[in-house]
């Protein structure tokens, strides 16, 4: 396979990754790593570099659309970013001491978890009374909806912050956005309404990925020959996805995607245990 064919196939793959990532809310990174390692037999370290680039592209690409709607809770995102960026830097340091097989296995486990998270029941309701810390940190907010402005309050700030540190660490170690863990921390622990947690998580994914991407760029994980088809493909895919999102029902798509991702994850874990990385 020449570089030209490699680039064209990767461009198509990245386009589909961006499309699927934006339609299901999982981000571009989760598809890029299996595509590169299992299909192209690329070293997982180059794949991690590419996934970081893909995560930032999906985050920044779709954030400009979400910000318009005014539902991202910037204060909440910023406060939790202390946890995710610190975790990401820690993860990037840990990566030096982590064998690549273990990285592949962890990635597989994370994929299965993400697939399960896309299918879970969403937390729609808004809390009326928040915890003391949520007032002190000014984390409570409101968002516009069809029924008018909805006020919401948060609780379990400490638990959310802790899960976010783990999310950041995994994102620094694996190169993915860990959007699923971020939503878990906000939805399940802090009781943030679903619409707010999704967009706020998307805002945070870019910042978290940027924190470790700088380290990986200097380590040589981000190869230009892989990076350019990934950037172009994922951006174009995410753009198409955000247009399609208004028109189609993504329920079935999410189910198919979750099953596909679980199969890929099992493959990654199997190969990880058999030292095929």
């Amino acid at each position: 396979m020449t570089i030209l064919t490699f680039t064209i196939i990767l461009l198509l793959g990245a386009y589909l990754a961006g499309l699927a990532g934006s339609l299901t809310g999982l981000g571009g990174g989760v598809v890029i790593i299996p595509l590169l390692t299992l299909f192209f037999h690329v070293d997982i370290r180059y794949a991690i570099g590419a996934a970081l680039v893909a995560s930032i592209a999906t985050s920044s690409g779709s954030a400009s659309a979400y910000v318009k709607e005014g539902i991202t809770n910037i204060r909440l995102g910023m406060f939790l970013e202390i946890a995710t960026t610190a975790g990401a830097v820690l993860g990037a340091i840990l990566a030096i001491y982590t064998p690549v097989n273990l990285v592949a296995i962890l990635f597989g486990v994370m994929l299965i978890f993400s697939a399960a998270m896309t299918l879970r029941k969403k937390h729609e309701g808004a809390l009326l009374e928040g915890s003391k810390l949520s007032y002190q940190l000014k984390l409570n907010g409101s968002y516009p909806s069809k029924e008018g402005v909805i006020d919401y309050k948060l609780k379990n700030v400490g638990a959310g912050f802790s899960i976010m540190t783990v999310a950041g660490m995994l994102s620094g170690l694996l190169g993915i956005g860990s959007g699923a863990l971020k939503v878990l921390a906000m939805d399940t622990a802090m009781k943030v309404p679903f619409r707010v947690s999704t967009t706020t998580s998307n805002f945070m994914v870019g910042v978290t990925a940027a924190a470790s991407a700088v380290v990986y760029l200097q380590r040589g994980y981000i190869d230009p020959g892989i990076a350019f088809p990934v950037i172009i493909g994922v951006l174009a895919g995410a753009f198409t996805g955000s247009k399609l999102l208004m028109k189609i029902d993504v329920k079935k798509l999410k189910l198919i995607f979750s099953i596909a991702i679980t199969l890929i994850a099992l493959n990654m874990i199997y190969n990880g245990f058999h030292h095929k990385f």
Partner: protein
């Protein structure tokens, strides 16, 4: 009541501005990657990819000064890396804009929180974590 409303307007304006910055940042990064990519394929398209074994990239495009030097000679790989750097910069710029908006609002708590986030990112850039 009136002051509260103007404050909300400012918030909204800053958000709109951030949205614009992100859009242009992403567009710019994509365009630079397209230019560098076409140039790269023109020069090396018939070669063979070498990604099955991780070698750590040559020093040229793993540092800001290396990318800058490569750009001066019109090297394709460094042009692509410039696109990557612009992309990585977009969320960081978003943090800086948020910091400015918290300063305008005189929200001391969030000026400190945003400064901590920015400091962690700067530490990862210049903290010598590359090894």
């Amino acid at each position: 009541m009136k002051t509260k409303e103007t404050k909300k307007m400012n918030d909204y304006d800053v958000e709109q501005l951030i949205g614009q910055v992100l859009r242009y940042g992403v567009l710019l990064s994509g365009s630079v990657a397209v230019i560098g990519g076409i140039w790269y394929l023109y020069q090396q398209g018939s070669g063979m990819p070498h990604y099955t074994k991780f070698s750590g990239e040559p020093a040229g495009y793993t540092s800001f000064s290396g990318i800058y030097r490569g750009l001066l000679t019109g090297s394709a790989t460094e042009i692509i890396q410039l696109g990557v750097v612009i992309l990585i910069a977009t969320p960081i710029i978003r943090i800086i804009f948020s910091l400015i908006s918290f300063i305008l609002e005189r929200d001391k708590l969030y000026i400190i929180i945003t400064a901590i986030v920015l400091a962690i990112i700067l530490f990862s850039m210049f903290g010598g974590l590359a090894i």
